[in-house]
C-alpha cells in the first residue's frame, strides 16, 4: 500500500496522532515551497511553527484544510488520509481541522454569537442553517459555551466590527471550537495584534491544547512568544524542517538562522 510505504519512509511521523503530515511537497510554478515536510501534532500539545516569510509555513496549513492542493505526500487527519480523498469521507475528515486566520475572516456586520454558530454549518441541514434565525437553540447554547471558553461570553450580542482585534481573533477561535474540531490550525493569528492581545490569544490556544486536549499548530513570527507557550518548536527553512524539538532544546542562534539574510538564496 502506498500509504504504508510512505509511513515507513518517514519513521518520525506518528500515524495515530490527530494530525500526521509526511513527505508533503508543494510547488507554485518553478518555486518549491514545501520540499518534503514531516510534522506530527499530538493531542494536547501546542506546536509553534517558525520560519521566514515564504518558508512554506502557511502553505502547509492550507494544504491540511484544503485551501491548497499538495503535489505529493500524505496528510492524515485522525488517521484518515485526505490527500487524494474525495466526497463525504474527505469532508468529514476536514471538519476535524479548524483554521484560524491572520485576517480573522469573521463577518464584521454580524454579532459574535452568530459568527460562532457559523462554525457548525458543516453539520447542520440547510433547513436549520439558512439564516441565523433558524439556528437550533442547543447550537446557540453551545456557541455561548465556546465564547465563554475564550472569555467573551459578555460580548456575545455585539457586532464583531465593534470588538478589538484581539477580541475578534478570540471570537474566531470560538468559531473553530463550535466546529468541534480536534485540530486547531492558526495561520499567523497574532501578526496584526499588539503584544498584550497576542499574549492573550496564545494563552487561549495553549489552554485549549492542555485542557481540551486539542492538537494545536500555530504559525507565528515571534520566537519568544512561541517559547513561552508552545510545547514544541518547529522551524521551517527553504521548505524543509530545520528543527523540531521542545523549546528548551532549541537555541536562539537556531531560531535566528531561520530569519538570517543569506536564506534569500532561495
Amino acid at each position: 500500500m502506498a500509504v504504508a510505504v510512505q509511513r515507513d519512509r518517514h519513521p518520525g511521523v506518528e500515524a495515530d496522532a490527530p494530525l500526521a503530515i509526511a513527505g508533503l511537497r508543494k510547488s507554485f510554478g518553478e518555486r518549491t515551497v514545501l520540499d518534503g515536510i514531516d510534522l506530527t501534532v499530538r493531542r494536547g500539545e501546542l506546536v509553534a511553527i517558525l520560519g521566514a516569510n515564504g518558508s512554506g509555513k502557511s502553505t502547509a496549513l492550507r494544504c491540511v484544510v484544503g485551501l491548497a492542493t499538495p503535489d505529493a505526500g500524505s496528510i492524515r487527519i485522525e488517521g484518515r488520509e485526505v490527500v487524494g480523498a474525495h466526497g463525504d469521507s474527505l469532508v468529514a475528515a476536514r471538519r476535524q481541522a479548524a483554521m484560524i486566520f491572520q485576517q480573522i475572516h469573521l463577518v464584521r456586520r454580524r454579532n459574535a454569537i452568530d459568527n460562532v454558530c457559523s462554525g457548525a454549518l458543516g453539520r447542520l441541514p440547510l433547513s436549520r442553517s439558512l439564516t441565523p434565525v433558524l439556528f437550533p437553540r442547543e447550537l446557540r447554547q453551545e456557541a455561548m459555551a465556546c465564547l465563554h471558553r475564550v472569555g467573551l461570553a459578555d460580548r456575545a450580542g455585539e457586532r464583531v466590527s465593534r470588538l478589538s482585534g484581539g477580541q475578534q481573533q478570540r471570537v474566531a477561535i470560538a468559531r473553530a471550537l463550535c466546529q468541534r474540531a480536534s485540530i486547531l490550525l492558526a495561520d499567523e493569528p497574532v501578526s496584526a495584534l499588539d503584544p498584550a492581545a497576542a499574549e492573550q490569544v496564545f494563552a487561549v490556544l495553549a489552554d485549549l491544547a492542555r485542557n481540551e486536549h486539542l492538537a494545536v499548530a500555530a504559525v507565528l513570527h515571534q520566537p519568544d512568544l512561541a517559547r513561552r507557550h508552545a510545547d514544541r518548536l518547529v522551524g521551517l527553512l527553504h521548505g524543509r524542517i530545520a528543527f523540531d524539538a521542545p523549546p528548551s532544546e532549541v537555541s536562539d542562534p537556531q531560531c535566528d538562522a531561520l530569519y538570517a539574510p543569506e536564506r534569500g538564496a532561495a
Binding site: M99, I104, H105, V107, S118, L126, A172
Partner: protein
C-alpha cells in the same frame, strides 16, 4: 551642510521621464480616441452652426409652452394621477425584479457561482436582458396584455433583472473573500456560504444599487408611457401630438418634482446605509 551630506549618500530619485515605448503606446491610444470622436462628430451631423441659426425655432416652441396650463380639472389633476402611476410602474418593476436579479447575480458572480457553466449561462442571460431596451420589452408585452401600465411594469421588471443582476454580481465579486474561505474550510455548503458570508457583507451595497435602479426605473417608466404603457409619459406624448405645449410644460414640471423627490429619498437612504 546637511544638504551636501544628503547629496553625497542618497542615490538620485528614479527618472520620471516616459520611456519611449510607453510614450508611443499612450500616443497611439490618444490618437485613436481623437479619431473616434472625429468619426462620431460627422456621423451625428454635429453642427453648432445649425444650432445658432435655428435658435428662434426653440424660442417659438418655448413661447408657445409659456405660461404652463395649471387648470386643475383638465391638466393638473390628471397629471398628478398619471405621475403616481409612473411612480408605481417604477416601484413594482424594480421590486418584482429582485428575486430574479438576486438569483442571477449569485450564479453570475465568479466568487459564488457553483460552476463555470452556470456562471456563463447566467452572465449571458443578464447580457441578453440588458441588450433589449425596456421600450422594446414594453412593445412586446403590449401585444400580450394590451395598452396600460401593466405592460410597463413587466417591461421594467425584465430589463431591470438584467441590469441589476449585473450590478449586484459585480458587488458580490468585490467583497472580501476571507469569510467565504473560512466557512468553506469548516464544511459549509454553497447556499450556507452565500447566506452567512457573502450576503451579510454585501447587503448594504445591494440596497444602494437597488435604490439607484429604482431612481432610474421611475425615469424609464416615463419613456415607457410614450409607447402607450400609461403614466405621465403617455400624457406628455398626447399633449405634444395635440400641440398643447403649455400642458406639456405642466407635465414636465410635475415630472421634475417627482424625479427630485425620488432622488432625494434614495440619496438619503443610501447615506444612512453607508
Amino acid at each position: 551642510m546637511a544638504a551636501t551630506t544628503v547629496a553625497e549618500t542618497v542615490p538620485p530619485p528614479p527618472r520620471t521621464a516616459l520611456r519611449s515605448r510607453r510614450a508611443l503606446v499612450i500616443g497611439l491610444v490618444v490618437a485613436a480616441i481623437v479619431a473616434l470622436h472625429a468619426v462620431a462628430w460627422s456621423k451625428t451631423e454635429f453642427s453648432p452652426h445649425a444650432l445658432i441659426h435655428g435658435w428662434h425655432g426653440m424660442v417659438d416652441f418655448v413661447s408657445q409652452a409659456w405660461p404652463p396650463d395649471f387648470s386643475w380639472d383638465d391638466v393638473l389633476h390628471p397629471g398628478l394621477n398619471a405621475a403616481l402611476v409612473t411612480l408605481c410602474i417604477g416601484l413594482l418593476g424594480t421590486t418584482f425584479s429582485i428575486p430574479f436579479a438576486g438569483a442571477l447575480a449569485v450564479m453570475g458572480a465568479r466568487t459564488t457561482a457553483p460552476n463555470i457553466v452556470v456562471y456563463q449561462a447566467s452572465r449571458s442571460t443578464m447580457s441578453a436582458l440588458r441588450a433589449v431596451p425596456d421600450v422594446v420589452f414594453a412593445l412586446i408585452f403590449v401585444t400580450a396584455v394590451g395598452l396600460g401600465p401593466f405592460p410597463g411594469v413587466l417591461a421594467l421588471m425584465v430589463h431591470n433583472t438584467g441590469v441589476m443582476g449585473k450590478l449586484w454580481s459585480e458587488a458580490i465579486e468585490e467583497t472580501d473573500l476571507g469569510p467565504v474561505e473560512a466557512l468553506r474550510t469548516n464544511g459549509a455548503r454553497g447556499a450556507q456560504v452565500v447566506s452567512h458570508a457573502v450576503l451579510p457583507a454585501v447587503v448594504p451595497q445591494l440596497v444602494g444599487l437597488l435604490l439607484y435602479r429604482f431612481d432610474v426605473n421611475v425615469r424609464a417608466s416615463l419613456v415607457l408611457g410614450l409607447v402607450g404603457a400609461g403614466g405621465i409619459g403617455f400624457l406628455i406624448n398626447q399633449s405634444i401630438q395635440l400641440f398643447r405645449f403649455d400642458q406639456m410644460l405642466t407635465y414636465i414640471l410635475i415630472v421634475l418634482v417627482l424625479i427630485i423627490a425620488v432622488d432625494q429619498l434614495s440619496a438619503f437612504v443610501r447615506r444612512r446605509l453607508a
